[in-house]
């Protein structure tokens, strides 16, 4: 039986088809993986003047998972650290551009980082290296709060910070440490449970129809580095640099005659006069604290320490804001050496601690 095939070639009505590529949209606007798209046409026709209706068969397919995400270093330059610093961190940002919610597995490495990805030369490793997710989403690492070690259930278009955290050795000669973050796409679906790494579906396997296939669409995140396109992984790199080896700690000492027993308005340095000495310990290095600061000051000859007059604390008034030794500072008058000893401890970057005591002129 010969059948006629109808081709509807209507001249002039064919629209030029040139769009599609310009269809930019975000992952959240993408159809979610697992959605079934079904198509059915309804048809009316007439046979011998009798109108009838029918439906076409239904054609459907399941939208597959287009795994894509980005990993970037989310900080400018290297993290400036000090020798022996603990909890030093570098920041990264992971953005899920998959058409579905996913987990991401995280690994940190200090070796195998190809030269040229970062400026400078790596010459030490951090100890106690860990990876934490910015669970409270405030953009900074909070010890004890940001404790998750994998990214859980990141929605399409969702971003989250990841921190590589470690301790800096005390070795005096070290300069720079490089770290690498590896991010691996993993299956989501269970909150609080770490998914397993996704594997792209082999279409030759049976039952690939009407199931959610995994298609890797991620790019090469590092060019020179180990990442390749469509491997379900992303890499980013960052450095720690020893920025400060010393701090600019200065102590400025001044004397003020409080009273001479004669002239109340304008006291002179007469025998019997009370003199207040004031020392301001200032750390002019904003980026680093000075630790273990102790000030020892001998009582000048021909003067006598006024018992109980030692005050340590925030600067203010004529020297210290309060006339006492305020926590966390401690200090005392040492009788054998005839000196005051002020245990200041830490002076933070840009901070000043005041120490004052009084003497009488013999």
């Amino acid at each position: 039986m010969k059948r006629t095939t109808y081709g509807f070639l209507l001249a002039g009505t064919a629209t030029v088809f040139a769009s599609g590529a310009a269809h930019a949209q975000t992952a959240a606007q993408n159809t979610t993986a697992g959605t079934t798209v079904s198509n059915t046409a309804s048809v009316t026709y007439s046979v011998n003047g009798t109108t009838q209706t029918t439906n076409s068969t239904t054609a459907s397919f399941v939208v597959d998972r287009k795994v894509n995400f980005t990993v970037i270093r989310d900080q400018t330059g290297a993290t400036q650290v000090n020798l022996s610093q603990t909890g030093a961190y570098t920041s990264f940002k992971v953005t899920n551009t998959t058409n579905g919610t996913q987990d991401f597995l995280l690994n940190a490495y200090q070796t195998g980082i190809i030269g040229g990805l970062l400026t400078g030369t790596d010459d030490f490793d951090l100890t106690n290296l860990k990876i934490y997710v910015d669970s409270n989403r405030n953009g900074t690492y909070d010890p004890g709060v940001d404790t998750a070690t994998f990214i859980d259930e990141l929605a399409p278009d969702g971003s989250i910070e990841v921190f590589i955290v470690g301790d800096i050795p005390a070795t005096a000669t070290i300069n720079q440490a490089d770290v690498a973050l590896q991010v691996i796409a993993a299956g989501g679906g269970a909150t609080g449970t770490q998914g397993t790494a996704l594997v792209p579906t082999d279409l030759n396997l049976g039952n690939a129809d009407n199931s959610v296939d995994v298609v890797f669409a991620d790019g090469d995140s590092d060019g020179l580095g180990v990442d390749i396109v469509r491997n379900g992984q992303g890499w980013a790199y960052a450095s720690y640099a020893i920025g400060t080896r010393n701090v600019a700690l200065t102590v400025n000492k001044t004397a003020l005659i409080l009273s001479d027993g004669v002239n109340a308005a304008n006291p002179k340095a007469l025998p019997g006069a009370v003199v207040q000495y004031c020392m301001l310990a200032n750390n002019a290095t904003l980026t680093a604290s000075a630790n273990g600061v102790t000030i020892t000051d001998p009582i000048p000859v021909n003067t006598t320490y006024v018992p109980g007059s030692l005050a340590i604390g925030l600067p203010g008034g004529t020297c210290t804001l309060l006339p006492t030794i305020t926590a966390p500072f401690s200090g005392s008058y040492d009788t054998p050496s005839n000196a005051i000893i002020a245990n200041i401890g830490t002076v933070i970057g840009g901070g000043t601690v005041a120490v004052s005591f009084r003497v009488t002129i013999n």
């Binding site: 039986m1 010969k2 059948r3 006629t4 095939t5 109808y6 081709g7 509807f8 070639l9 209507l10 009505t13 064919a14 629209t15 030029v16 088809f17 769009s19 599609g20 269809h23 949209q25 606007q29 993408n30 159809t31 993986a33 959605t35 798209v37 079904s38 198509n39 059915t40 046409a41 309804s42 048809v43 009316t44 026709y45 007439s46 046979v47 011998n48 109108t51 009838q52 029918t54 439906n55 076409s56 068969t57 239904t58 054609a59 459907s60 397919f61 939208v63 597959d64 998972r65 287009k66 058409n99 579906t201 279409l203 690939a208 129809d209 296939d213 298609v215 669409a217």
Partner: protein, 157 residues
């Protein structure tokens, strides 16, 4: 003429249209997707294959195949195909007649003639993304035993 129709009727009876099919016009829907394969010389071949692996951004082709399994010519055929929700209409396929399209399910026509009403009451020219339904109205009668194919191109959102 009468004899010929009868002969057709007998033959179609033997071929047996699918069970449960009500009328003489059988319409089959298919979804195809573009599969690109790179040949050894570097050229890329695009083949249309059944939509097994489709991810957002992929081109898909919706095909309606129709066949007159009856003995009488069929006229006034109208195929109305609502565009599925996750699909953005792009245009007719090269081999297919251009359908009339609609952005509201009521007014059909060439895309260039349609306008979309905005929230503030103004209107703008309709774009392919606005199409919610496509419709083919076959001008010609389809004789007994004849078949044809209509299709449109789209993108998975």
């Amino acid at each position: 003429m009468y004899l010929r129709s009868t002969a057709f009727w007998v033959m179609t009876g033997l071929l047996a249209a699918p069970a449960g099919a009500a009328g003489p016009l059988q319409v089959t829907a298919k979804v195809l997707t573009e599969q690109k394969t790179r040949a050894a010389d570097g050229s890329v071949r695009v083949a249309l294959v059944p939509a097994r692996r489709v991810v957002p951004g992929d081109r898909v082709v919706f095909v309606l195949g129709y066949r007159n399994t009856g003995s009488q010519p069929i006229g006034n055929i109208v195929l109305d195909n609502p565009v599925p929700a996750a699909i953005a209409y792009r245009g007719p396929s090269q081999s297919s007649a251009a359908p009339d399209v609609s952005v509201d399910g009521k007014t059909y026509g060439p895309l260039a003639t349609l306008r979309v009403r905005l929230a503030d009451g103004a209107t703008r020219a309709a774009a392919p993304d606005d199409v919610t339904s496509v419709r083919w109205r076959l001008a010609n009668t389809v004789p007994a035993g004849a078949q044809g194919q209509l299709s449109f191109q789209a993108v998975l959102k």
